[in-house]
Symmetry: C2
């Protein structure tokens, strides 16, 4: 995948005008400290299946997803793949990186992002305690998500994984549209996220469909029976 295909669509001119002073940053206390970054953002588009950044690549930018879906991918030498998570509009990417990115980021669908220079993020954080705190909390939230996934991958059955995944996706969508999930990722992507094979994912989704727990269409899954899914997600074993 060729990250050169990323196109800068728009670059706000916020930093060509009068430069805000350090004092401004220290006093600033917007609703969300991240708003401080906005003036340094650039909007970029990435096409489906293109790489936003590679695994192990130097972390020079952070992003906010404006449109589309992104997958965070780790690849083993022999091709086995683990998708750490899927990012949806509103989600942030790369704010918790160290020197390099842990995962490659790839566009699942056509994606529009807002890109921020990491140098700037770090520089601002150094002067603004609110922002610093916000960034730390962001990373803690990512960590919490990862920890929940350890249990899913380490101890849950295939059915539990699928059910948990669907419920998580449902919770993330603040869409009024009750229970209709955008699922732009392929079965392979789901499998690589859940530590299963594509066939197992298919079979379990087929099961859910036959039970009328979900209605499946190209690119969407509608949750018809939330309670059944919840039960399936935490089936008591034994």
């Amino acid at each position: 995948m060729d990250s050169a295909t990323i196109q800068t669509v728009e670059r706000l001119s916020g930093n060509t005008g009068k430069r805000p002073t350090v004092q401004t940053f220290m006093q600033a206390s917007p609703r969300d400290a991240l708003d401080l970054l906005e003036q340094f953002g650039a909007t970029v588009s990435v096409q489906r299946d293109q790489e936003i950044h590679g695994q192990g690549e130097e972390a020079n930018s952070c992003y906010r997803i404006l449109r589309g879906c992104v997958r965070m991918v780790k690849l083993m030498e022999d091709g086995r793949r683990q998708i750490g998570e899927f990012l949806m509009p509103g989600d942030l990417l790369g704010f918790d990186a160290l020197e390099t990115h842990d995962f490659a980021a790839e566009a699942v669908s056509d994606v529009v992002l807002r890109r921020y220079p990491r140098r700037m993020v770090d520089a601002l954080a150094e002067r603004n305690a609110h922002l610093a705190r916000r960034l730390r909390d962001l990373t803690s939230i990512s960590l919490r998500t990862a920890h929940a996934r350890l249990v899913l991958l380490g101890r849950k059955t295939a059915s539990e994984r699928i059910a948990t995944f669907l419920l998580e996706m449902a919770e993330r969508l603040p869409q009024a549209r009750a229970g209709v999930l955008d699922m732009p990722m392929s079965r392979t992507d789901m499998a690589d996220h859940l530590g299963l094979t594509i066939e197992t994912v298919c079979r379990i989704l087929a099961l859910l469909r036959r039970e009328a727990t979900v209605a499946i269409e190209r690119g969407t899954i509608e949750i018809r029976d939330h309670a059944s899914l919840q039960q399936m997600a935490s089936e008591q074993r034994h």
Copy 2:
């Protein structure tokens, strides 16, 4: 487990003397920003199998492990257990928490910790950018560790998990004592860390012993053939 059994062994009186001013904190630039916390630390002991803090419990303290081994545990309703990681002397605990602890922390062996009040950690970080940055990086490091474990749990075979685990433990020990690992945790603990059963852990360790890749004794595992382990850790499949 009764966290009331934690005993305060020693409480430094650093904060009873003249209080450092905010100015002091902002100018302070010790080798490690975390050193700022030292004067607010208290040393506590926890006995084997006692809880240091519960899962979901409010995060009021952070800790540094001085002696012994700690396991970070998540428990499912039906008793299935996932150990997120084992902490060894020098490791930090709870610095990446949000309001509550993701995991319960339990003493694998008798443990001695240095405890710091979280309120203080956060208050200092608000005034000292170095410390704030250090805390953010700490959390990022935890995140990186968790991400590596996602691949292990999602995509690696039982043998690869064991081999990877042993190599990781080896890397963490800066002990001059080449390849002799302190392994105070039970087989069950290892299994719950690696997403396996205790029997599978036993069988694979037995295999490694028969191959003379490792030498196993009560509480220690000596790595005799590092190369074999490395190969086993990243066996090309197919």
